[in-house]
Assembly symmetry: C2
Homo-oligomer: 411 residues x 2
């Protein structure tokens, strides 16, 4: 059987994982799938760094990979927007197929990259760009096609889920858990992209575009990180039976599209509530399929390699490459969504906060519960609009208020 | 665009759901997927029964569907082994593609049906046969191909999960919940196939065959139902932090294949433990992807129709139909698996039971806990072999012993 020539752009942990997986599983993949591969060239920054791949495959010249006529599939795991996006476009424009794990490059250059693939009938495969091994891309494109998807809600960033899980179970502060996570390699030295929600926003842009068949640009995703979440408020939420998660939430309500990333409370018995540590999960609601959840390892070299090699096999077997149908672009997402809100403040300031809410017609749905230290107290609102909530909080700006949106309350 | 002619075998709730979904989503499916369908004939038992489909499509003659040259895809939802299996083979032998929801016909005639598809290059699609809307078939065949799958564990029967969930939360007896479930339409008037584990065994045969690339015949699935599970033992298990589920468990341990369906305790914090009511979930472990879970509605007309129409779209778009690679047949599954066991007995008989276990070198791992009524008591064993366990229990045959296998204990 003829081997399909492939080239790597990048060779960090993920690239080495792909190389290893291709090597150890070559026999099984050939036997079960009828395809086999030959890695011909690997683009790296430094030729001197020791890597568990053959030295003679390495090159620091992109053209050695991109212009090799024997390479028909390019696998990209470079991280960052550029030069990854340009390389992918170039490869597609030259009739190659691209398999990528790069959510940032894909989300920020979605239309250009998709158009390049469409114009040249090239394949574009990106399962690994969202939630590592979890086949949520394939589920949306190949398994839920008969559905009108009404919502997608996901724990799509492992670092923040690890931090929030530990803050919930241990009552530790954000800064303390972050520092631990950095020591363990679960958070980057510069954690901004994760903790500010940018990484989740890229992924939500991709997921919502596929779910709704309309391009939801990443700039249209409302994004709020976890740096302001306090352990006191997390514990106060537990008193209401709530668990905190950084969720990516996309909804299609009669054509109005919401797309937002922010710390969110969900009821303790919701399937997303028990997704802990660095695990990812995406919860999907469709008009025919009902509620579904896809759970697994969202990061790590081998889980990501699992998705990349799966895409590679699909790409190699495809007689014609499928690209997602995207009808148009969402120019303006709905920023005035409805939600239940958890509101916490210093105990003695709660009456003033309630008054501000009432003046904007935001109802109070629960009793006020006081934290164990007797200093802070919290309550839940009835369903209210984000705009009313923001106006109300604007009136009590000087106070130390914790406001966290609540999803899937049964009320 | 030319419409693809399709025929239905059967038109109960699921068939009517498929018809409705095709009708309401025709525009979206055409726009997003570029295919459209025309239902040309529907095989039914009785032409007189009122159904929400056009009367003129109905026929009681199978040949009107199977031999219509304008029909290229047959959708089968007849239930039962025959004539469904023969019809599917006939259709495949005549070059048609088959989309089926029928786990029983597929599992019991796996090789014949697969061979017919292979010999005639016909498509065979069966996502709907396991776990309704949950795309576990596609996950195994199209997303986890790069993995050595080591285990598949699933809640793959909604009726028994509903019964066990209610027994767990309410302490109600099996007979009482079953009778409720029958009134609500969640259990059949003759519930045997569900409560004795046969339905789960068909599904596990299909899942394990795909996971391990070896045919695991349904006769090789060890099967034990839930009729002997007592609410006392369920509650005693809770005292050990355990939740009861009817699990289908398939493992590949260095080529030794286990496949078994039986009531199983899992730790309360395991993702499968919180899958309640009629929901299904499949937990998969692969050497690269790690742990994954797929969760959703395993039955019902629209969830099943969601999977069937998804298969229909995949079948219509395929340039070449993919069939699963199955290397050989497992002649004998491993019946002497290792497990932790929960053992309950009348309080005063526990010492005799423990003695019987010790005589077979089965260790006791926990203290003995007594139920609230002070009559029954239970403990957990260390890891032991099924054979040793059965020998030990054979020595105390007259006693009222509850033995439930425990999976995923962290010890």
């Amino acid at each position: 059987m003829e081997k399909i020539g492939i080239g790597f752009l990048g060779c960090g942990n993920i690239g080495c994982g792909v190389y290893r997986l291709l090597e150890t599983q070559a026999g099984e993949i050939d036997k079960n799938e009828g395809v086999s591969f030959e890695v011909r060239k690997i683009l790296v920054h430094s030729l001197d760094k020791k890597r568990p791949v053959p030295q003679e495959l390495l090159t620091s010249c992109a053209s050695d990979v991109l212009d090799d006529p024997e390479i028909s599939i390019i696998m990209e795991f470079m991280n960052g927007e550029e030069p990854a996006a340009s390389y992918m476009k170039y490869a597609l424009e030259n009739g190659k197929t691209v398999v990528t794990a790069n959510k940032m490059a894909l989300a920020t250059h979605w239309s250009e990259i998709l158009n390049a693939a469409r114009a040249h009938a090239g394949g574009l495969y990106y399962e690994a760009s969202v939630c590592g091994a979890v086949p949520i891309i394939r589920a949306l494109t190949n398994s839920l096609q008969a559905n009108r998807i009404t919502s997608v809600m996901g724990i799509i960033n492992g670092t923040t889920n690890y931090i929030l899980s530990r803050m919930s179970t241990e009552g530790t502060s954000y800064a303390e858990v972050l520092s631990d996570a950095q020591k363990m390699g679960l958070a980057e030295p510069d954690p901004t992209a994760d903790v500010e929600g940018h990484d989740a926003a890229y992924k939500l842009s991709i997921l919502s575009t596929l779910a709704f068949h309309r391009h939801v640009p990443v700039e249209q995703v409302y994004t709020e990180g976890i740096t302001a979440v306090s352990p006191e408020d997390v514990q106060l939420g537990q008193a209401f039976g709530l668990t905190i998660k950084l969720l990516g939430i996309a909804k299609n309500t009669n054509g109005k599209i919401q797309a937002r990333v922010h710390p969110t409370f969900v009821p303790r018995n919701h399937p997303l509530a028990s997704v802990n540590d660095a695990f990812n999960a995406v919860y999907v609601n469709g008009h025919a399929c009902g509620e579904m959840m896809f759970y697994g390892r969202g990061a790590g070299d081998m889980p990501t390699a699992s998705a990349l090699v799966s895409d590679l096999i699909q790409a190699a077997k495809a007689k014609r490459h499928e690209l997602p149908a995207v009808q148009d672009e969402v120019k303006q997402t709905d920023k005035n969504w409805q939600s239940v809100y958890f509101v916490a403040a210093k105990k003695e300031q709660v009456p003033r906060v309630m008054e501000a809410l009432r003046s904007e017609n935001v109802g109070i749905a629960t009793e006020v519960k006081t934290g164990t230290n007797n200093e802070r107290a919290a309550f839940l609102t009835t369903h209210a609009s984000e705009a009313a909530m923001q106006r109300a909080l604007g009136c009590v700006k000087g106070l130390d208020i914790g406001m966290i949106r609540v999803e899937n309350m049964e009320n």
